[in-house]
Point group: D2
């Protein structure tokens, strides 16, 4: 079991009605996305055609920040606040959507953009699954 | 003029229809809130009655992360994405509301909680002003 | 191959003499540590004996911030700066050491502290390996 | 008095032998630098000559992360760890030096780079003052 999964298993308090597997997958996807967005912004910065990738870099920087913060908020369970959880997940969805929309505009996507876009899509799916289970 | 204000003034591209003064105030409020929440979480942790302040600490930690991320997103103007900006501002509002609601429950509020709550309220007002001007 | 590994493989520029496998392991360890420290701070906060765990919570919060920042710095390769890389890795080592030292003082360690301490130790080893290969 | 100053004044525990004014100035400089670096990276990204500014953008991104983390670590006083504080301040100095060195290489510095470089220099001075007072 992953470290994130073990941390959920050993939390001293009841986590309420949350689906633990979905929560774990969402936490892991958020941290993976944060790393991938950071790395993709840097890879774009090193491309010869960087001038055409500035929007991609910017959305990646936002994605790194928002996914990182979402992963941290989801890793906390003390004094759970459903409204905040939902609002952060919505912001994360908007950040990943912005990343994906921009990439679709490159006629010929860079390999690092493709890998990062797939990480964003998996993150998107994990967040939708989690948001659905919160209802 | 503050550094954040000077950075806005010297940005090479047009910032669109955004109210520059409101944007500056909101950026500054976000970074101020991020610091205040970080410091308040730590001050609560050093209180003798820490066991009664755990929800306050948790909401402060979320507030520090969400306000910090919001301040960073608002400091970027390349390839502006209105949907992401709004979603991040909504998450920030939810985080500050959670901080405020929790504090109101302390019969006798700690001085550091009061100062931080005022910083959150100013941040709240700055974000509402900015969100209104984005419409 | 992990997403972090794929991002390294597809970076458009030469990564210099760095050992790519060690770099990948160190990046992954940093993000894993950042998550584990965030979760452990929260788990400690939910323990009945929270008043005895305040130093553990504080070092975890520092660890989450420093490991997260280190993971981001290591994910960037454009305009590599060896001095900064080393200084950040040293700060990360100090943060993980503080986490470990504190835990050793609990006569009976909590399970979430044990899991997080192991993540810190793996991170420690990965950073030492990487620092050694930079010489 | 600033919010950061008020938070220091109302901390429930003794802050030890630290010079409170120097600590406050350093915390504020860190958050100001984190914002200025974030904004400068974005302003560089919007310059027509972005291809010549990629190292500047990268050092700014590192600077934003390292200064932000340093500001957070300095805002915590529970269970103070001198080794970690020093290591983080050293990493912050390395990050700000990298930002400054790169800027000096532009024959004609951009206005936003100049403003951010001054923020870095003030941060540098504040950190040196604080490090000196810790001895």
């Amino acid at each position: 079991m992953s470290v994130a999964g073990q941390m959920l298993e050993t939390h001293p308090k009841d986590l309420g009605g949350v689906d633990r597997r979905k929560l774990q997958e969402c936490i892991e996807a958020c941290f993976e996305c944060a790393q991938a967005c950071t790395a993709c912004a840097d890879a774009c910065l090193s491309e010869d055609m960087v001038a055409e990738l500035t929007t991609c870099i910017r959305t990646n920087l936002d994605g790194a920040d928002v996914c990182g913060t979402t992963g941290r908020v989801l890793s906390r369970h003390t004094g759970y606040d459903a409204d905040l959880t939902r609002a952060v997940l919505e912001a994360c969805a908007a950040a990943c959507k912005a990343c994906g929309d921009d990439c679709a505009q490159h006629a010929e996507m860079h390999e690092h953009c493709r890998i990062r876009a797939e990480a964003c899509r998996r993150g998107e799916a994990a967040r939708r699954e989690l948001l659905g289970s919160l209802d």
